[in-house]
Subunit: 325 residues, 2 copies
Amino acid sequence: MRAVCVIGLGLIGGSVLRAATAAGREGWAATASEVDAAAARDDGYSVEGTVEDALRRAAAEDALVVVATPLTSVREVLRKVAWHAPEAWLTDVVSVKDPVSIEVGQLLPGARYAGGHPMAGTSSSGWSAGYPELFSGAAWAVTIEEGTRGDAWREAAALALDCGARVVPASAAEHDNAVARISHLPHVLAAVLAAVGSDGGELAMSLAAGSFRDGTRVSAGSPELIRAMTEGNRAALLDALDDTLGRLGAARGALASTGSLKATVDTGHQARRRLEELGSIERERTTIPLDAPNALRRLREIGERGGRIIALEDDTAIAEVSPME
Amino acid sequence: MRAVCVIGLGLIGGSVLRAATAAGREGWAATASEVDAAAARDDGYSVEGTVEDALRRAAAEDALVVVATPLTSVREVLRKVAWHAPEAWLTDVVSVKDPVSIEVGQLLPGARYAGGHPMAGTSSSGWSAGYPELFSGAAWAVTIEEGTRGDAWREAAALALDCGARVVPASAAEHDNAVARISHLPHVLAAVLAAVGSDGGELAMSLAAGSFRDGTRVSAGSPELIRAMTEGNRAALLDALDDTLGRLGAARGALASTGSLKATVDTGHQARRRLEELGSIERERTTIPLDAPNALRRLREIGERGGRIIALEDDTAIAEVSPME
């Protein structure tokens, strides 16, 4: 099993280091946070003194480098990768993929890279918030672009599977459009809901119950991390916000003119029901030979259809796909 | 302890009947739903054959009548109360208060009425979804209007306390404005978020995780009940929707022009933090003599300041208030 070198020991990076070593991999890390470094060492993990040290070790041991910093620090880390480990296997766990893909293309044109994004998190952050089972059963996007190498994709996907996740193949742009709607938009709506509720004063806050608590929960997370991920996906999030303003304005108009919210409530209910059904449907298994010339295209089609990779065996990916089509 | 006559045996009415009888009160019910009636009888509860029978018994036993139907059926039930139990103690558990207050004023001008609204629920409905601890620790608004009688308010508040809730005194209009923001708006935003996410297709649904699940959870509830409560609070909800459209449009504009969501994210974070702090602050106790001429005005001020009544003893209400002012 390939060793992992994790750069950044926040909630996600810290959980990747724990999960990968729990799966039997050798692993080490580096982080700019002295607090996280000390806490990880106290817990028995190997933390190099500097990012440069960690990357040189990755080059020497042909490890998989995992960039787990906020988007705003990715460029600086990639410069160091380009200097100290230009040939390393490379992935990342940043929540937007197109900007990272562009940076990698500029700084590491020959990199053996596939981007990653585990769909897991809590409203806490830092090493102390992480745990090895964070990714268990979660979706973990692994990107496929025009120039993605099959062996690089396989290394990134194998890490996700070792961490207990299911791999969702997607292009960087498709990924970013999807997460704008199901991750970044929910954070913006939670912030707006919290503010509008709070404007209702003390009485409103003392009457607040389940629907308000659920709807605002993610606003409890670090404002810096929420900004890094939402602002980092600007174009796709603007599209999602425009759709939201359109639907919300239509709801407002219908309520004002006819008194009815039927279209809004019914459409939302059906969408939520569909989400719940997807969690319980029986999926069909299919296999994709990874040495076939069209392997990456087939993987991406599986992701577009809502399917996922659940295992890699020899030169084959085992996929679960919805039986509906 | 005064007997209770509960009209309607859905999630809320069914839980009130269970909680009130568990607290030692005599209790009986009636419902238009044969399914709920049979299930409640199977569980050993007293269910009269018709609403009229239940109300006649309430008149004979000087019981507290609890209207626990959707808003759309309230007028029909109140007509029957006016005919069969015009002198009964009366409250309700409907999620909007001004419309009910107006109906009571028209149909039962001499009623011994105070409106109620327990801030508790699940996304399931019907008798089978209820349980006696549903209201434990929850806020339960009990309304105080110009013409509210002290003894009627006390009867409604005592039921809430017997059900394990904390009583939040409020005018019907203040209540409706507050719940538009912290209950009805979250339901509209959840529906819109579910639809915009679903528009992202299969890939988006397969990547959906905690933030999308939390943000859309209440859309899983009955569309009929969601419509009854949101459409029933139209004027206040339109205000809340306008504030939301304003804040969301400002967020969209800032992201498009400056690339920053700082104002939106920071304001939301502070509001959510405030909500969390309110759950853990040490509150001061104060007492309100209920036979004083200004008692109802003092109770309402306590509600406006975010306070709540935690007990009624003899002629005194025990309140908890925030120490901040």
